[in-house]
Symmetry: C2
DNA sequence: GTATTTCGTCATGGCCGTTAACAAATTAGT
DNA sequence: ACTAATTTGTTAACGGCCATGACGAAATAC
């Protein structure tokens, strides 16, 4: 007889512990009373929660807090910067990177390495990455940080295996990889390994970068590593799709009977605004090292061909995005990843198309959807990966406390 | 000093009461032990929950349940069909309708009336509807049903007012209405009034029609009352958008420099597959009474012009939908509302375009997204409205018990 | 007819958040 | 300088809720 799995009793406690952690992670130092107000519990209840977390070493007191107001000042509580931490890694087309983030969300360790991963043997790349992770783990131990998990950002399509809970990499066109279990090639000992699409992680990084301008909980995030990926965040949650394939903006039809696309369709956005298409339109021959960065350089130099190519790509992107905006009604559109470097020339045509095509659909609201470049730029996926691990840890206080 | 609002203590109880109700609503009669297994509580806990609900008159025992298996048979529990009920109403272009649904999800009372609402004075229409609602309320009282709320389906754009929590109708093109507080013109005494877009409610009806073929929790639902509306359901939740305007499939660009649209854009889906466009393409003059039904009749008669018009509309719809499918990765696409009547001729071209344009995007999965017609058809919005009220009631057991 | 299985209930116990009261720490006012 | 007011954090009593374990009840299996 399978026991119905104990539930709902200790679960409330766990959730409340987690809510305290998240409140502190989101808003710097807070007193117990402030936490209580934020999460809707009484001061007494928060006291016991804080006690438990404090004895577990997850948070520290930072002396008397604010002053100037009437009444006894509260003691500032802060998440520890010496306990658990989250590992993030990124496998790019021409680089590998690792970051270690503490519970406060600060990046404490960061390693990067240029490598040609395109067409390389996955095992070799994973071996290199494993080496970097071990280095980072050593540094982390030196700083008093204890790993709670690893999240890897990959430019490819993933399928979550229902059985094992692990994600398989189905296809990574830019790497030339197919059907690989990445987690199997990475070190154990850092905790559970999650593999996630890098566009999705870039969007999450954007979502979590509370310091930045836009703390928007609902937006479309466009990046361009695998063709053109869009990640959709709705009400603070990432939209993954029924099979995990959501966000394929690259194959949204822009001109229904236009250029044939490798996907079998015609006139997909990718054939107009994909990296290869744009480079060719600008008169550049795509190849190792010749990527969007090179195009950005030409634009900066005022190269007319490059500027025209980017403008045209922006128009196509704007058309595809206006479909997405009509359908999803996001609060804003964010251009991130490598695409962010082209923002100075890309944003205007994108905004123009969006303004043209989403006016009435938006219920006649005066201002069209704002389009902006991600301040994180190419760092998004790596920060998102590390942040993902940290958030996951904060969601499970019991795991952190037992350690 | 604002009290932090008591929380988390009685809330767990409420949620568990609600979970019992939902379990019984979803799967016919269940014994206490079966409920316990479904919602993950112990039999003892469920016993007390059932006790409370039973004393409140929300559920009834239906004698010994299943037999044939070993062991003492459980007593079948069922939601009452004589207590609380939900009201739903629909304001269509040429009809009004009211339905009363009991907690079991069965429609107990249903009234319909042909009226020309297009261009009519809102107050007059609301007065007629109020009369129908009063009739229904009288019948309900006779059947021992007590109203817990009213949900109204409207073919228009709504804005939720953050302050009052009420929804304002911003714009209903087909009715010619603008900026109206519908709830203000409807009877009080039925409980809280909710106004919601009819495409959204149609999709929810589809989601809740567990009896039907597809118990899919993630799909795109297309209907065609206001231009062309799509409702997106993700993980069982309706995607509303940041401003509540999500689902404007009608203004997704299909041919970027195609026909000018009333929205200011060009080549919107609506200009190819909207009701007016399709009727004209089929050689019908749109007008009162001449609507999609007339077109369906011609198709049935084998009218070549009509068939061609529908085929072309289907192609345009398929193009727009392939954008949506690439972006959202739904488990299926459902054609509902008035559009469902054209399904026999519409589905093939839609599927064809989807198959062409979403193959690789779907990660090379062999079967493309299935497209099917809603079995509910034009009834969807009304059923969704009544169902919405009932679900809302089941979410708040305390409200039902105090009654 | 007995053993077995499953259902529903009851008493017990542990955990958790609320309530209410209180000491501590600071500002405002005179 | 001293009192009043205000806010914080802690403590003890209380009540609610679910889990555990045992038990009688009601059916099937042998």
């Amino acid at each position: 007889m399978a026991k119905p799995a104990p539930q709902s009793q200790a679960e409330m406690r766990q959730r409340n512990l987690s809510r305290v952690l998240h409140a502190l992670a989101a808003e710097g130092p807070l007193s117990r009373a402030e936490v209580a107000a934020r999460i809707g519990l009484t001061r007494a209840a928060v006291s016991t929660l804080v006690d438990e977390l404090s004895r577990g070493g997850l948070l520290v007191e930072r002396g008397p807090g604010r002053s100037g107001a009437v009444g006894r000042p509260g003691t500032g509580l802060l998440l520890t910067d010496r306990g658990p931490c989250g590992f993030g890694a990124e496998i790019g087309v021409d680089h590998l990177a690792v970051a270690v983030m503490d519970l406060r969300g600060r990046v404490r360790i960061r390693l990067g390495q240029e490598t040609r991963n395109q067409g390389a043997e996955p095992a070799a790349v994973l071996a290199t990455l494993t080496g970097m992770l071990r280095d980072a783990a050593r540094d982390a131990a030196g700083a008093g940080l204890r790993p709670t998990g690893l999240t890897v950002a990959v430019p490819g399509l993933l399928a979550r295996d229902a059985g094992s809970g692990r994600s398989r990499l189905l296809m990574a066109p830019n790497l030339g990889w197919r059907d690989i279990d990445l987690a199997a090639g990475l070190p154990t000992g850092l905790g559970p390994v999650t593999v996630e699409n890098e566009a999705n992680l870039g969007a999450l990084a954007e979502l979590w970068s509370a310091g930045g301008a836009g703390v928007q909980d609902s937006f479309v995030h466009v990046s361009a590593e695998i063709g053109i990926g869009a990640a959709v965040v709705v009400e603070g949650r990432l939209l993954r799709g029924a099979h995990g394939f959501a966000g394929e903006l690259g194959h949204v039809p822009v001109r229904p009977e236009g250029r044939p696309c490798s996907c079998g369709g015609r006139g997909c956005l990718e054939t107009y605004a994909g990296e290869e298409a744009v480079l060719r339109a600008a008169g550049l021959e795509p190849g190792p090292g010749v990527r969007l960065g090179a195009l950005a350089a030409r634009c900066e130099a005022g190269d007319a061909g490059a500027l025209r190519a980017v403008r045209q790509a922006g128009t196509a992107l704007g058309i595809a995005l206006s479909g997405a905006v009509n359908l999803l009604d996001p609060r804003q559109v964010v251009v991130g990843g490598a695409l962010a470097r082209l923002a100075p020339w890309l944003l205007a045509p994108v905004s123009r198309e969006l303004a043209r095509r989403t006016s009435v659909a938006a219920g006649g609201r005066s201002t069209p959807v704002p389009v902006r470049a991600s301040p994180l730029g190419p760092d998004g996926p790596l920060l998102g990966a590390a942040g993902f691990t940290v958030r996951a840890a904060l969601d499970e206080p019991s795991r952190l406390l037992r350690g």
